[in-house]
Structures are given as structure tokens and as C-alpha cells.
Amino acid sequence: MDSVAHRLSAVGAGAALELRGVTRLFGALAALTDVTMTVRPGERRAVLGSNGAGKTTLFNCITGDFPPSSGTIRFFGEDVTRFPPYERIRRGLRRTYQISALFPGLTVQDNVYLACRGVSRGRFSFLRPGVNDALMHATETLVQAVHLTPVKDQRVAELAHGQQRQLEIALALAGAPRFILFDEPAAGLSPAERLELIEILTSLPAHIGYIIIEHDMDVALRVVESVTMMHNGRVFKEGLPREIESDPEAQELYLGGGHE
């Protein structure tokens, strides 16, 4: 994978995601302090840290759900620090939420259709999609990819938890994602569902990079090539999965102590 990185930098592809001194304050509380991080295109990285380490706030700053108080964020070279979330999404950024953020009043199919429509033109279209609508095909394919075809006409409020998590992932895969932020995708999944999740993550096309926040080490360390450890809103350590696993300080902070 290092050779891939070298080749990419050789053709000048630059970083997929580049954070410089990102700080986020909530009143007097610094949820993030001076976070600097570079992620290559196609790179898959885990962000670890105990509760309150600032992992989800980091995601919120990257997507623009909460803009950073200071610092800059570049997405494929473009400064997106002041962009509203939808502008970042239209540029190929995607995210999932720790607590499923779906549209409970709509069907599975409509949820996925909205995700496909959100990153293409015709968001304001007053015309119902026709039988040959390309986005309807994309919707069907995505629904199938996350194994939800049997329940596609059910309202999301009626789905089981595991199915909602799968739908959560489908929404993030709509269109042509270039980089995805997964916020604890395995939360509340059964062991069998975790295996399915690992399969989905590892079979993503190689050009799609992601950052994953995950408490389950079995999931996290199997699907990433690099790890960032966070503590109290700061980047604490970066390295390969095996380095972090064997690092005594990391063990102390997270793998041993704070882990639920």
C-alpha cells in the first residue's frame, strides 16, 4: 500500500483530506484542539479514542455539521472550511452517523433515492421519476448491495436495528463517493452482521478512502491500514494498526482502560 501512496504522490494527486490546526470550541470547552491530519486518496484509517476524545466532533468539523472554530480543512486540495455541508457532500464527501440518522417516515427505497438525488441534479424536480430513470436503477442496485431488497417498500421506522445500520451505510455510498466518514458503523450489530459489515467495507472500490470510528477492535483493525489515536480532543498518536496494538501508552489509554 505504500507503493500506491508513492505512485499517487508522484502524479500529484495530493491529499484526500488535509486538516491544519483544526480547533472546535463549545463555549469554554475545547472539543478539538489543534488537530492536524493528512489522509491520502484511497487510504483507510481508524480513529480511536475513549468517549469524549473528540472523534465525532472531528467528523462534524470535516462535514461542516459544526464548522471548526479555527484551522483549515482541505478536501482534495480545495479549501472547504467555510463550505456548508451540502457543498462538501456534492464534492464527494460522505458520512454515516453514530445514531442512525434516517428518514423514518419514508420507505427504504425513498431513503436511498433521496441520497442518490442529493448528489445529482434535479433536486427540485417536480416530475416523478420515470421507469427508465437512472437514479431509480442506482437506488435498486444500492438497496440490493446492502441486502435490503426484501424490505425496500417498508417504512424505515419499521426496520430492525441492524437493517437501519445497513441503510445508514447505503446512504453514504450513493452517487460517486470519494471519501467516507463512518461513525461507529458496527454499533449494536450482531456478530453475523459485523462480518457482513466487514465484507462491505473491504469490498469498497479501492479509490474510495475512509475514516472509521469504531470501538470494536476486531472490526476496526481488520478494515484499515493506518490508525490515529485521539485523547482529550488532540491527536495523540498515529501509526500502523500493529504498532498501535503493541504500543503500551495506547494500551493504557484506550485498549485496556477506557474500553467499554
Partner: protein, 356 residues
């Protein structure tokens, strides 16, 4: 299946049946349509316009609120104000007894002008309202309604103060007086049907679906690439146009308009109509309007028969409103749907699930 196939064109995937109009499969809908069409054979002039015509007009205005509240999660109390604004504009640009105010344009110029201005008015109000959520949206739109009411009361140059504008001319086309009972009934019915089907259609189009997404989870919609506030403002524009259509019919119906027609209590009537009928489906506002008009028209006689003050009809409406909000938060439609579901479940459990 693997996700690497994701961006390949779908081949074996079943064709969607997204465009279908499931409502057309409902025999009850066809029956109601038939009754509405032959209504002039059944009902006299009074019933035709005072009951059914008024019901449909109020239903159109409440439909615009249903669209905003049911699909967009935005409770707007200014929908009657927008309708009233359209009515005033018809009177101001068209022909009326107040020649010093009315510009005397023919109806086919004055009406589109009124609709355009009402849509702009509602869109601007919406642009203010979308900066807020929940109860603050209600407060802002109520404030716009109240401000418009007092403005019409005090402005004599355009709105002719508290006397309003009287003897508003109505269209005569193809030798037909469109304000005579039967043509006017069919005109109202056509506009109401148009609005109903437009709302129904748009609710399944990308714009309407996205609006429901905004209602369910605005933050996630932004994280899917949607400009949430732009969507909300566009919803206000669409709803304002519908409310404007209702307002034009309203002013043709009464042939006059005055501040009393746009008072705050009228704005609240529209909310009551929409909530009593149910804001989950476009048919709800029309059912609510029918209940409201029947109560308003007949409660007086009934109350007097029981030796009570006839003006207490509002008490009946208020009690009905309380009962609905208390027992069925999704209105009469919700009561009906739950009853149907129970009926379908009890005799045969297999047949019910298929029709869903």
C-alpha cells in the same frame, strides 16, 4: 453481492413502479369524484356554493398548509393571509365598485398578477420563517398575518381601510357568467382538483420527497447534498401559489374583501381545518373544511333549538378541535385509517397485508 458492482449499470434489477397513481385504484375516490361532478343535480344554489363551494375554497387554502406542515414540518399561520393578499390584489388590479382604487385591468391580467404577487409575498414570508423552527415558525407567520390585518385596516390608498373593496367584478368568458352558481361551482371544483392532484403528484416527485426528508431529518438531508433552507423556501413558494388560487376564488365568491376576511381568527380557522381533517394526506384539509363549514352553517340552528345562544358554534368547533387533537393527532383521516386497518385485520389477516 460485492460493492464493486455498484457503479455498473443495473441489468437484472426489477423495473420500478414509482410513477403509479395508487389513489386511482380506490373505488371510494371514484365515487366521491362522481358525486362532486353531479352535485349541481343534487344540491340547490345555497348548498352548492355556501356549503360545497366554500368547503372547496377553504380546503384549497388549508391544503397549502397541509403541504407545508404535513410534508415539510412547517406550521405556517399565514396561509390565509397569502390567500387574502391574492384576493386584495384581484380587487386592486381588476374592476370593483371602488373606482378610485381599482386599476380596472381585465380579469385575465389581474388574476395572474395577483397570483404572482401572492407567491412572491408568501415566498418572502417563508424566507423569514425558515430561519426558525417549531413554535417560532408559528409565531413569525402569525406575526405576518396579524401585521397584514392591521396594515389593511389602516392603509386607505391601496386597501381602502376597514371598509375594504366592494363589488369586485367576476369574469365573464364565452358568454358565461362564471360567478353564477353552477359555472362557479365547476370552476372551484376544477381548481380544487388541480391543486389536490398537484400536491399528491409532487409528494412523490423528487422535490416532495426531499421535503419529507427535510421534515424527518434536516441535518441528514444536508449531509446528503441538499440545501435544506432553499428547499423550505421553495415549498413556501409552491404553497403560496396554491393559497393564492384559493384567495382568488374567495374574492370572486364574496365579491368583496375587507380586513375582516384576513383577520387573525380566520388564519387560525385554516389551522383548525387542516388539523381536524388531518395533515398526513391532501384529502384531509377538504374533509376538515367540510366539517368546519357544516358546523358553522348549521350549529347555529341546532344550538338555538336546544335553547342555547347561536353564537356558540365556535364552542362546538373548539370542542371538536380539542377532541381531535386529544384522540387522533392525525385528524379525521387518522381515525378513518385506523378504523380501516382494524376492519381489514379482524376478518381475514391475509387479505389485509396484501393491500397495505
Amino acid at each position: 453481492m460485492s460493492l464493486t458492482q455498484l457503479h455498473a449499470p443495473a441489468t437484472a434489477v426489477e423495473r420500478p413502479r414509482f410513477r403509479a397513481w395508487p389513489e386511482l385504484n380506490n373505488p371510494a375516490a371514484w365515487l366521491v369524484a362522481l358525486i362532486l361532478l353531479i352535485m349541481p343535480l343534487i344540491a340547490s344554489g345555497f348548498f352548492l356554493i355556501e356549503i360545497f363551494g366554500t368547503t372547496l375554497i377553504l380546503g384549497i387554502i388549508a391544503l397549502s398548509l397541509m403541504f407545508l406542515a404535513g410534508y415539510g414540518g412547517m406550521v405556517s399561520l399565514m396561509q390565509l393571509t397569502i390567500a387574502g393578499f391574492a384576493g386584495y390584489m384581484v380587487a386592486v388590479f381588476g374592476v370593483s365598485g371602488n373606482a378610485n382604487i381599482s386599476l380596472g385591468w381585465p380579469w385575465w391580467l389581474a388574476t395572474p398578477m395577483a397570483l404572482v404577487l401572492a407567491t412572491i409575498f408568501g415566498t418572502l414570508g417563508g424566507a423569514l420563517a425558515v430561519r426558525t423552527e417549531g413554535i417560532y415558525t408559528i409565531m413569525i407567520t402569525l406575526a405576518i398575518g396579524a401585521a397584514f390585518y392591521y396594515f389593511t385596516n389602516q392603509n386607505w390608498a391601496i386597501f381602502n381601510g376597514h371598509t375594504g373593496i366592494n363589488t369586485v367584478a367576476t369574469p365573464h368568458v364565452l358568454g358565461i357568467d362564471w360567478r353564477s352558481d353552477i359555472p362557479f361551482y365547476y370552476l372551484i371544483l376544477a381548481v380544487a382538483a388541480l391543486c389536490y392532484f398537484a400536491v399528491q403528484y409532487v409528494s412523490r416527485a423528487p422535490f416532495g420527497l426531499a421535503l419529507q426528508g427535510v421534515r424527518d431529518n434536516a441535518r441528514r438531508m444536508a449531509a446528503l447534498g441538499f440545501n435544506v433552507n432553499a428547499h423550505r423556501v421553495a415549498a413556501y413558494a409552491f404553497a403560496s401559489f396554491i393559497a393564492g388560487l384559493g384567495g382568488v376564488l374567495q374574492v370572486w365568491n364574496y365579491r368583496q374583501i375587507s380586513p375582516g376576511s384576513v383577520g387573525v381568527e380566520r388564519c387560525i380557522d385554516i389551522l383548525i381545518i387542516a388539523v381536524v381533517g388531518g395533515i398526513t394526506r391532501p384529502i384531509g384539509p377538504f374533509i376538515g373544511a367540510l366539517i368546519f363549514v357544516i358546523l358553522r352553517t348549521f350549529a347555529l340552528d341546532v344550538l338555538i333549538k336546544f335553547g342555547l345562544d347561536g353564537n356558540r358554534f365556535r364552542l362546538l368547533i373548539g370542542l371538536g378541535f380539542l377532541a381531535i387533537v386529544f384522540w387522533s393527532s392525525d385528524g379525521v383521516i387518522g381515525l378513518w385509517e385506523r378504523w380501516r386497518r382494524r376492519q381489514a385485520r379482524s376478518p381475514s389477516s391475509t387479505a389485509g397485508s396484501r393491500h397495505g
